[in-house]
Symmetry: C2
Subunit: 339 residues, 2 copies
């Protein structure tokens, strides 16, 4: 781990000491040298491919400045693992870059590391290196995660075919509702949520995934997959675009949690928001018709929840969204220009 | 490459369009899917180890806000390759995270990409993925670089032995003098520098390395190595500490450029500064006595310049620095507490 703090170190403790004390316990791989070197030396299992992904979270943009530190660590690692999961890859190693304002506290760093640790303990991934730097800007966390999958077993967005069944894991929209609750706690009462339901939504925003069972199911059954991070409809559109397929999504098939259903019952205009808001960190995958039975029985056995969204169509049919009455929904999300 | 800009995109162009146009040409590896996926799928050559390193540059901390954009791209990639070089590893692939303030221009991004491209063209490394995000803070660039080296051929800090010859590549202190010139251009005249000499020093600050020949020499001849990024003396101290050796460094042996010699002649108090300031991105390596002849002839043939700094001693002798008259130098650099 490089040492490049050119400004005041948090609370006067040297950066090296902070790294050693707070982050070194996360470096389980012998090739990480306890973060005492500038680089890690890793072996990739013979016949395995390396899956590489990178995500950055900025305070005030991707998380709230007063989110608990451990939730920031949790989320930073979980969103990267979500990308690996959608490739059917097991997490292996990650690097961590932290750009920190001068007023950051040791408490915050320890909380942040605890969040990383919680995710590590649910997966096989471990910290292998990184960099901490001082910054006059907000806390900025970048993780590059490496995963492994057997050669030619990694799953891409490309490869779905007309006739394939499209599934989504978990539930959609919870994280967005959790963020709304954090910004405006009065909404919990308006949506008639119990305390547990409100807490559940906030947790889904702060501490998504990881779900190890998903990667195995994706690897064994998916022809194509994508993680749902930018919004369900937009991410399905991306998978369809590169796979040259279309799909008609019935919003009646989209899986919502009991808490989200209450919010939707109070305010039906939330529907197009929840299916485009993102931050779900679920996975969408296409399963060929002949694999559907096997997939459904194995996913049930694994305890992972999957919901069928529809059957893929020829590309010329396009991607469309309609409600249970068959009425086409107009999606106005600016990142998604296809309606 | 993920798409997560939650604030205004530079000049109204969508982030996806920016990535496609500016950065996709840097994604040469077929497994990078032209940055159109959330993750890259890479093959690691059988029998090779993977070397992983990560460095972050923050505007105003690690580079000057008005440094040319291409020099920022150049430096961000070159400092990572420097870490790989010191491991004897060839550059292979890298991820790029860019946290960008709202007022960043397309021109800046294109210049930045040109700097990355210039370094890519001098090495075998290519962009495989990353993330661009909006940030209210300064430009923050994080690169995680992956290198390869034959199994058990990667070189660590650990492994130097008493009796080994210690070498350093290139020249030391140029980057620091370049930074001083950028901050106070009057110094060029005071130090009697020609225009070319002043430009050379600034270039060394802005566009260090990479030097491909170094990695091969490190891999074939070094028992231990470290890149000189935090200051020559401090980095030698780190190598010595983990290798359990000592060394007495005669400042008369430290290689300085003609330009640096002029500055030193004018102001001899610069000497302890130049050997501790860092940003050199050279490599220090320990060569066993029996390999010295082979190393010297191969390094000469490669055109790489190496200078012998001394012979490693037993650890109990410690690390010390003395001038040509034998007088011990007191080093006050705060990151380096051993004197």
């Amino acid at each position: 781990m490089a040492r490049k703090t050119k400004q005041g170190d948090p609370k006067g403790e040297g950066e090296f000491d902070i790294i050693a004390r707070v982050f070194a316990p996360l470096a389980k791989d012998v090739g990480a040298f306890g973060l005492k070197d500038d680089a890690a030396i890793l072996m990739v299992t013979e016949g395995e491919e390396l899956i590489v992904t990178c995500d950055t979270l900025v305070a005030g943009v991707h998380f709230l400045p007063d989110d608990p530190a451990d939730s920031v660590g949790h989320k930073a690692l979980a969103v990267n693992i979500s990308d690996l999961t959608a490739k059917g890859a097991r997490g292996y190693a990650y690097t961590l870059s932290l750009a920190l304002p001068p007023d950051i506290s040791i408490d915050w760093l320890e909380g942040f590391a605890a969040g990383l640790k919680a995710v590590q303990e649910q997966t096989d991934i471990s910290l292998v290196g990184g960099d901490t730097t001082a910054s006059p800007g907000p806390v900025t966390v970048t993780i590059t995660a490496l995963g492994q999958a057997a050669h030619q077993h990694a799953v891409m967005r490309l490869g779905a075919m007309p006739g394939d069944r499209l599934y989504v894991s978990g539930t959609i929209g919870d994280a967005h509702l959790g963020l709304r609750l954090l910004r405006d706690p009065v909404l919990a009462k308006r949506w008639s949520l119990t305390e547990n339901e409100a807490a559940y939504l906030v947790e889904r925003y702060r501490r998504p995934g990881p779900n190890n069972a998903l990667a195995t199911l994706v690897r064994n059954f998916a022809r194509a997959a994508i993680d749902v991070s930018d919004g369900l409809v937009g991410d399905i559109e991306k998978l369809c675009a590169v796979s040259h397929v279309g799909v008609a999504i019935d919003t009646g098939n989209v899986p919502f949690s009991e808490a989200a259903k209450k919010a939707l019952a109070f305010d039906p205009t939330l529907l197009p928001v929840l299916i485009t808001a993102g931050d779900d960190y679920e996975v969408v995958l296409a399963v060929s018709e002949k694999s559907v039975a096997g997939f459904e029985s194995e996913s049930e056995a694994s305890g992972a929840r999957f919901t069928a969204l529809g059957t893929l169509l020829a590309a010329k049919k396009g991607v469309s969204v309609h409600d249970e009455a068959g009425k086409t929904l107009k999606i106005k999300d600016k990142g998604f220009k296809h309606f």
